[in-house]
């Protein structure tokens, strides 16, 4: 039997057509898109074609789309860029305590530079209450950054409600986990970060959407290849392959969302027959974050791995540390559950049969592991 890949929030398998595009463009349009000759011009045309496709997925115009190297770079550019550009107006930033490290560590860096940051805690269901954000707003608040969907729980955050409350304060959202799981024309934010490899595109490329008129300054400097905000030789094959992936998932977006949600509720239904578990968060599309009492997430993960099933504990970027996830603990999950947390995340390639097989294995493994729980 083939491996079961249930770690799609960490990264996804690239679409075959997107991979083909990557190879084709690498071979045929290798010229530097800034070059004056026709080779360069053709590469540039390919990028602009891709930009239109990506822009359409945001319901945006092409000059609002900047290509980045991925989510971390997009988050850094947005937060630092807005903070520096508006620091004369104020030095206060609001974010949430459950952001990805790309946002949290950037905010912590700004604190060292004299900015003040308020971290909003989620409620028990994993959601940020817009009213908490509103209460944190001060006269010198210049930026609010709240993720669209959390990377560990998949829980969607009320971005539009926050936007409605924040007046002319700039709103950034890290939408890396939400892209491909909702209609992006509906998001109302000034800056949106996404990454290609979470939607079956290649690694090393992403987009920062910057709404026209947003006051932001560049944080890396160079040849201004992608406008003043982003310098560096354009990554033509990755961008083109990214656009291919966007085209594919957008064609079936509504249908995919329904399918992913059905996988999620199917799995939760099956898991509910197991004793002493907690499903963390609701209102997610493709993530089941579940805590099992009396086992360790990592041990469960490796036991599943030996059955050819790949899941994650917390987010892949921090599961090398054995501490309890800050996202799960800020949702108030009791410690004896929190230790035994795994994240199962689906893509359109997963099936209900895979879920059946997995839940059966989880039951067997728990029978063994719970016998040997720490005394």
């Amino acid at each position: 039997m083939e491996n079961i890949y249930f770690d799609n929030s960490a990264t996804t398998k690239i679409y075959r057509a997107a991979l083909k595009k990557y190879v084709e463009v690498s071979e045929n349009l290798y010229e530097n898109s800034s070059a004056l000759h026709i080779g360069g011009i053709n590469a540039e045309r390919e990028i602009e074609k891709s930009r239109r496709i990506v822009a359409r997925s945001f319901g945006a115009s092409t000059d609002e789309i900047i290509f980045t190297s991925g989510g971390t770079e997009g988050d850094n550019m947005a937060i630092l860029g807005v903070a520096y550009a508006n620091s004369r107006k104020g030095k206060h930033i609001i974010t949430s305590s459950i952001e990805h490290h790309a946002v949290l560590h950037t905010c912590q860096h700004l604190e060292k530079e004299g900015f003040e940051v308020t971290y909003i805690k989620p409620q028990k269901d994993g959601k940020i209450d817009p009213l908490d954000v509103e209460q944190a707003i001060r006269h010198d608040t210049i930026l609010i950054s709240v993720m669209s969907a959390n990377n560990e729980t998949g829980v969607f955050q009320p971005i539009n409600e926050i936007k409605a409350l924040c007046g002319d304060i700039i709103l950034h959202t890290d939408a890396v986990q939400a892209y491909g799981k909702m209609n992006f024309s509906d998001i109302n934010a000034d800056l949106i970060t996404v990454s290609a490899h979470k939607v079956h595109g290649p690694k090393g490329v992403g987009t920062l959407y910057v709404k026209k008129g947003t006051k932001i300054t560049p944080v890396i400097f160079g040849g201004n290849q992608d406008g003043i905000l982003h310098s560096g030789t354009m990554n033509t094959p990755a961008i083109s392959s990214f656009a291919k992936a966007v085209e594919i998932f957008n064609a079936n977006l509504e249908k995919n969302i329904v399918y992913l949600k059905s996988l999620r509720s199917y799995m939760i239904e099956k898991l509910n027959s197991i004793d002493d578990i907690l499903i963390n968060g609701y209102d997610a599309v493709n993530v089941v974050n579940v805590s099992f009492k009396g086992v360790r997430g990592e041990v469960l993960l490796h036991s599943l791995e030996s059955e050819g099933i790949y899941v994650s504990t917390g987010s892949a970027c921090n599961s090398k540390s054995t501490d309890i996830s800050y996202v799960i603990s800020s949702m108030g999950v009791p410690r004896e559950f929190a230790e035994g947390t795994i994240r199962i995340s689906f893509s359109e390639f997963n099936t209900k049969e895979e879920i059946d097989f997995t839940v059966e294995k989880i039951e067997n493994i728990l029978n063994l592991l719970r016998r040997f729980k720490r005394r």
């Binding site: 360790r296 990592e298 041990v299 469960l300 993960l301 490796h302 036991s303 791995e305 030996s306 090398k320 540390s321 054995t322 016998r371 040997f372 729980k373 720490r374 005394r375």
Partner: protein, 392 residues
């Protein structure tokens, strides 16, 4: 002119009738350590090994490799010239040009083991020193604290000029003192214990206890990497990865809670001993140090000691953690040792481990287990990995 490498040997020069055996072992180890550096010739004379490189020989890489060969006290890269004082003078100016241009003070030292050479050592120094002062007017002589010492060695095979020696690894040639089996955990101590034992000329093999799914493939990769770091000093060796989850669970179910750790260690020692006997090792090596953790009190060590009949070598027994860390950093293992991939087997760590276990009681508890079956099962299912030295 040609550049050669002289290797000064350590205590093996004091050996009596079997000195030759040590020298041969050392030369064979050197040959292996320089395998990937290109062709060279080697000979030994007057307790010094001479390496004569071919044209394509990678000099710097060779010196780096030689720093890890036990039995070598110092490494000298030097230029070779004819045994004629005028030739030596001209040659030194040319060969040491870069070194001398970058310092302010120097002194000369000479050694004349070819007594047929007409000048005595102090005379060589005076002649050469004067010549260097003329040719490098910025230089001054400082006999007490020079920036650089210019050495001249007049030997049977020729005259050699160099500007200082590099410290070697010391110790005795690996393989000259038998073989022992290292219990390699993945922490800071055991690689250092392996290094220190190998330094005394002992060949290694290693055993690692693997508790999948309580630890992961990353933990195994880490242990392999540590083994490869040790192999820089020992050359290739075998790592036995023992599937240890089943015995651990059995101990956990059948034995008293506070004795878990000590019993587990006894079983590990027994399995290591079985593997050691099977593969010709004469002892076991552990990274234990008195009092470091509950299982390393003298009482606990007495119990683990009694579980095997082989000698147990504990080179770190009297060392503080800080001293161990210093060596770990020196041999380049520290950064790997502190990677956080192990330790999800806290399930098996009792809350209050016995710090003063009694042998009688432990033996009683061990009767609850089918130890022979456990050992057989582990030895039969061991995964054997050949460890090659880690390259930079």
């Amino acid at each position: 002119m040609r550049e050669i490498i002289l290797l000064k040997l350590g205590e093996i020069v004091l050996k009596g009738l079997n000195k030759r055996r040590f020298e041969e072992k050392l030369m064979s180890n050197i040959r292996k350590s320089l395998e990937n550096c290109g062709k060279f010739n080697m000979k030994i004379a007057q307790s010094t090994i001479y390496i004569f490189p071919s044209d394509e020989f990678e000099f710097d890489k060779a010196v780096e490799n030689l720093k890890c060969v036990f039995g070598i006290v110092s490494i000298v890269t030097c230029g070779e010239t004819e045994k004629d004082i005028n030739k030596i003078k001209a040659f030194a100016c040319e060969y040491l040009k870069d070194v001398l241009n970058n310092v302010k003070t120097f002194k000369c030292e000479a050694k004349r083991s070819d007594k047929a050479f007409p000048l005595k050592s102090p005379e060589i120094c005076m002649e050469l020193g004067g010549h260097l002062l003329e040719n490098f007017p910025h230089l001054k002589v400082d006999v007490k604290n020079p920036d650089v010492v210019v050495y001249t060695e007049v030997r049977d095979y020729g005259a050699f000029v160099h500007a200082g020696r590099i410290q070697g690894a010391g110790g005795m040639p690996v393989g000259s003192n038998g073989k022992a089996c290292l219990l390699l955990s993945g922490g800071i101590d055991s690689p250092v214990a392996g290094y220190m034992t190998a330094k005394r000329g002992v060949s290694l093999e290693a055993v690692h206890f693997y508790s999948y799914p309580y630890t992961s493939e990353r933990a195994k990769d880490k242990v392999i990497k540590l083994a490869r770091i040790i192999a820089r000093y020992t050359g290739k060796f075998k790592l036995y990865v023992v599937p240890f989850t089943k015995p651990q669970l059995e101990i956990y179910e059948k034995c008293p809670d506070e004795e878990l750790t000590v019993i587990m260690r006894c079983i590990m020692m027994k399995i290591a001993e079985a593997l050691a006997k099977k593969h010709g090792s004469l002892g076991l090596i552990t990274g234990e140090s008195i009092g470091q953790v509950a299982s390393q009190t003298l009482e606990a060590l007495a119990v683990t000691d009694a579980s095997v009949s082989m000698p147990v070598i504990r080179p770190l027994i009297g060392m503080d953690k800080e001293e161990i860390v210093t060596i770990s950093k020196k041999i380049g293992a520290f950064e790997t040792s502190i990677l956080p991939y192990e330790d999800c087997c806290t399930v098996f760590v009792p809350k209050h481990p016995k710090t003063k276990p009694q042998l009688e009681k432990i033996l009683q508890s061990e009767k609850l287990l089918d130890i022979d079956a456990i050992i057989d099962d582990c030895v039969n299912n061991v995964e054997v990995i050949t460890i090659e030295p880690l390259e930079d």
